[in-house]
Symmetry: C2
Subunit: 319 residues, 2 copies
């Protein structure tokens, strides 16, 4: 089935709910937005490609969901509230059923956060999808990677390693209740928007875990110009991950797997009582390490130095 | 040559000149910007792919230049002033020489308009490049496609058909002074930012000509819910196009060629004296038609109805 470019836009991506900060949405040369005078503007852009970020047989729904989720995760890591998105869709063919499914996945997530599609581009080409998401954060404080201080404790939301383990079970065509949970964690990452909003006034530094805990923790250290020690025994692992993989594999997934889209953040000792409940905005948080003066990334198990199998995920390093 | 993703970002795309409206640029999970209280925010996003928007052997410089130029053209069509960009780069390999050349082309154009790179994504994949550009426009008036009224005259900036003719001569490997001019018009489209800014208070409707005059004029009509008659005899054609193609071909390039990135705009009769000099912000403008109550797109030559060979460019329709 072949559809014209403009038919595609009209049929599947016509504007739905309209926001007061969107003056002119989809359909013109550009969108016009009303800046909020009491907020800073936050913008993120992420790209996903077939065979690199998702498997070739992934459903349109899951691709659409993921394309937005990974972007919302970046806004969560800034403590920002999402507001609108632009979508660039490069597709080899204009398949109506796939597009309908894609749009459903995209908008199911978008509607949950009142994110309006304001424009973008559709072109013929290999399957590569870019979403640019915009939102707002209070002027007095937002989260960055660079605010950590020695002595700050290091936390993560949720559990680590599920998504990467889920990808493994997808590739190995494993069917089980546990595998199904892990696969969902890979296919439909849950952006931690509410946690990010709550952490805005709690965390000293934050980022999302997309390339794997160790790779991302190293970036946080570098931005803060300090070091970190990760306590491997403390890593929060799901029951499903524990049930499906032996200890070596689950630690490898949790440390280096990528695609978790949890938040990694640091908290100064004097703010720690704000995490006393063990959760933020309903999401469990776990202390997994500490920021130290000595630069670099270190792991320990049972109080002893520990060398992980590998570090993180780098698209180009896989060449 | 293979480079890590983060080395790429650091080596070629590190932030240069910083703008006062950019609070936090490249290097974190998202960028943080300072909204202007006296302006509306304008956002556009365009994607270009190898073999669809540029030929396979196009230099990195020309790809980088084009990726931004087509986006700036959208801002020009809104009468907006560009400010920053995000870049998504999907590339099969991380070739340092190509990337350096790409960055040079991108930044040569960006620096001309004081556009700051604030973030984006680099992934391994087929060559697909998306740029998202942001800028500002005065709160009282900006340009859209939908403001035209019956009786308004229709104008274009510059000349039409050069880019598409240039692509033809590139494909046919023609070397001549004229071909070189036409090829430059294809390879380095000049966004009409200054003209767009000046037209903000002159034009009743505007858009950029990217898919070909007829295809884009049809969109402008549809947005305004009126019709248009294009006077084919009036089309502004460059000396180089006239010298290189016979009458039938040059009219076809001018009407349907695409990639012109000139501005198509309408002006009410009472504002026409503002175009008396025949130029806007130093760019020649030519009257090519009139808006009419009867919907639809019509062409005429010598006062008689004229049927063009084909209409415009639609990526997916080429399948």
């Amino acid at each position: 089935m072949s559809l014209g470019e403009f038919d595609i836009i009209r049929r599947f991506f016509a504007t739905r709910a309209s926001r007061s900060d969107v003056q002119l949405g989809i359909g013109d040369d550009a969108a016009v937005l009303n800046p909020r005078t009491d907020r800073k503007l936050v913008l993120a852009m992420d790209t996903i490609g077939e065979g690199v970020h998702f498997l070739k047989n992934t459903s349109g729904y899951d691709v659409g969901f993921r394309a937005l989720a990974v972007n919302l995760s970046d806004l969560a890591a800034m403590g920002a509230e999402p507001s609108w998105m632009s979508l660039s869709l490069s597709l080899p063919t204009a398949n109506a059923a796939w597009l309908e499914d894609f749009a459903r996945g995209l908008f199911d997530l978008a509607d949950r956060y009142d994110v309006q599609l304001i424009g973008g581009d559709t072109v013929r080409g290999p399957m590569v999808i870019t979403v640019q998401v915009g939102g707002w954060v209070e002027c007095d404080r937002w989260l960055t990677r660079s605010g950590a201080q020695p002595g700050d404790n290091v936390y993560v939301t949720g559990t680590l390693g599920d998504a990467s383990a889920g990808l493994r079970t997808l590739r190995d065509r494993i069917n089980s209740t546990e595998a199904s949970f892990l696969q969902q964690r890979f296919l439909r990452p849950e952006p931690r928007i509410a946690a990010g909003r709550a952490l805005r006034t709690i965390a000293s530094a934050a980022m999302d875990v997309s390339d794997g805990l160790l790779a991302d923790a190293a970036k946080l250290c570098e931005a803060s110009q300090y070091g970190i020690t990760v306590d491997v025994d403390a890593l929060p692992l799901s029951r499903e991950l524990r049930a499906s993989f032996d200890e070596g594999d689950r630690i490898a997934h949790a440390l280096s797997g990528g695609d978790d889209y949890e938040l990694l953040f640091t908290v100064s000792v004097d703010r720690e009582q704000q995490l006393a409940s063990g959760s933020v905005a309903g999401v469990p948080v776990t202390r997994i390490g500490v920021i130290e003066s000595a630069p670099g990334l270190r792991c320990q198990r049972g109080g002893q130095p520990y060398s992980p199998r590998s570090t993180g995920y780098d698209h180009f390093a896989h060449n």
